[in-house]
Amino acid sequence: MDLNRAPTDDLAALRRMLLVRAFEERLAELSKQQLLPGFVHLSIGQEAVAVGACGSLAASDRITSTHRGHGHALAKGCEPGPMFAELMGREGGYCRGRGGSMHLLSLEHGVLGTNGIVGGGIPIAVGSALTSAVMGDGGVTIAFFGDGAANEGVLSESLNMAAIWRLPVVFVCENNGFAEWSATDELTAGRIVDRGTPFGVPSTRVDGNDLRAVQDVVGGACERARGGDGPSLVEAVTYRTHGHLIGEEAFTSPYRTDDEVAAWRERDPIALFAAQLVAAGQMGDATLGELRAEVEAELDSALAWAQASPLPDPDEAELGVLVEGVA
């Protein structure tokens, strides 16, 4: 484990978390302006898991993600312009507007898709790790999933298969406390972190709002995977401060208290990490504001680029179902 990261890496991680946060905030605005079709699930409050976990990955490593996956994609290196375009259903998007928020894939960044099916990406990550095992490419794949997916059968199947084949995959559960609008505690027996134990998969629970802690735990799991020692499970405990999806107030009664949300905002992962860097003398008091301004400027141009991207031609709606089209 590299406990002496260069200051530039820490600033890059902070900047990446700010980018995720600001990107999601822009989405909230765009949604209010009715510029975003479909469901939008924001990851505000969970940035340290995405950025901390992906910080251990090389560009050639891979992830699978979830319905709440914008942060994972940005953390893995996707650019905000084509991401905005994808979420707006435009040709400039990573998937030319065919996928949208929940089906965003960029193979060049090792993003094997956000996923609209809860747990759907977990076996795909196992398959990606299988490729690494068969090809001997030294790659690692992270399967991001939520606490809700912990109750999907494919998690048990995938932990087992990855364990018997010692595949280089790290299962990272973002436990944000709620499966849709129901408290995870009411739906989930035992602790999610304990679900790796019966399979002999080393499992660790970590504070998902502490970037450094996530980096260390996932970093260790990735090293283990690269060393041929097989999969690990990480349960990162965090919180989604913006609820399940944009606009949920219209159809759900309150399901959490203001106090609870406020308490988690006090533990904001970006503020926590920024304070750590200031305390360690790695950056000055003004740096956070400067980085934020940088990120906002980047998003201004990314959004302008996305909005200039054309909408798909309706005549192409039936194209591309199969390679070379349906005969």
């Binding site: 759907g120 076996p123 398959g127 299988l130 090809m135 794949t141 591309g320 179902v321």
Partner: protein, 341 residues
Amino acid sequence: MTRQKPRMQYFTRALNEALRDVMRADERVIVMGEDVDRSVSGATRGLIEEFGAARLRNTPISEATMAGAAVGAAMTGLRPVVDLMYGSFLYLAMDQVLNQAARWRYMSGGRAELPIVYMAQLGPSSSAAAQHSEAPHAMMMHGAGIKVVVPSTPADAKGLMTAAVRDPNPVVFFRDAALGGTRGPVPEESFEIPLGVADVKRAGDDVTVVAIASTVQAALAAAEQAAQDGGCSVEVIDPRTLVPLDLDAILASVARTGRLVVCDNGRRTAGAAAEIVSRVVEAAWDALRCAPAIVACPDVPMPFSPPLERALLVDAERVGAAIRQVAAAPTASVRPAEARR
């Protein structure tokens, strides 16, 4: 694939040869499934000795995860073949097959390729009963984004499997349970039969019979009987793949005969036969001289008891009755303005 001395080979062995050949030619091809090392069906037998446990993956009984692992493996450069054993077991893997494998090409705007073959048995094998006898090919046709292969002869099985593994798309390759032990001429060398090309298994002029998988055998027997009984000349067309469907070949035959029977051991409602009839009626209404007939399984779970199982399946007798029905039907009189024959 013309040969002077055709070599006879079993259907399952032909599949086995195809898998062996594509694995030899392309190290990205891997096979996974339950007991694929010893291979209950025989399709993957002997591959473990030649290719080893890295490429021949004996899986736990986890259909969803093996189907999904194939998606991740295919996206990242492998060409997985998944033996799901029975068609009924596709249902356990349905999310990964239809929500993932069949979707990512389109959802990614053409950026991902999913070269996967899901292999599964089609229909019942002697009293396997309701949970091991499904024929979910029509469900797969409805899925969009996945090809569907239904060979009826050992040579077709070999050539189509070779093409399926090399295809950049997900493919469901069905092994009809009734055909595993059948033999036919199969070239020894590797060869491909393109997906989407029907085969005329018997030429004829009076009635077109489109037959899927093992019903081709029943159709050929019924056609022979019809020729002997009354000189009725029956053309038997084997579509070989249902996605893509070679509708042109079927329409060309119906244009000559004007009379259509479609046979399938899948269930009738929203089935493959219903789809083929619908397409023909839509495209060639004027060519049809009478209403098409469907010979398919009733909408019933497959029973256990042998006489009950036999009662549901398509046989030469039922196909023969349908042929006689359409052959005897007068030219449709509901469209007098079009009664130009």
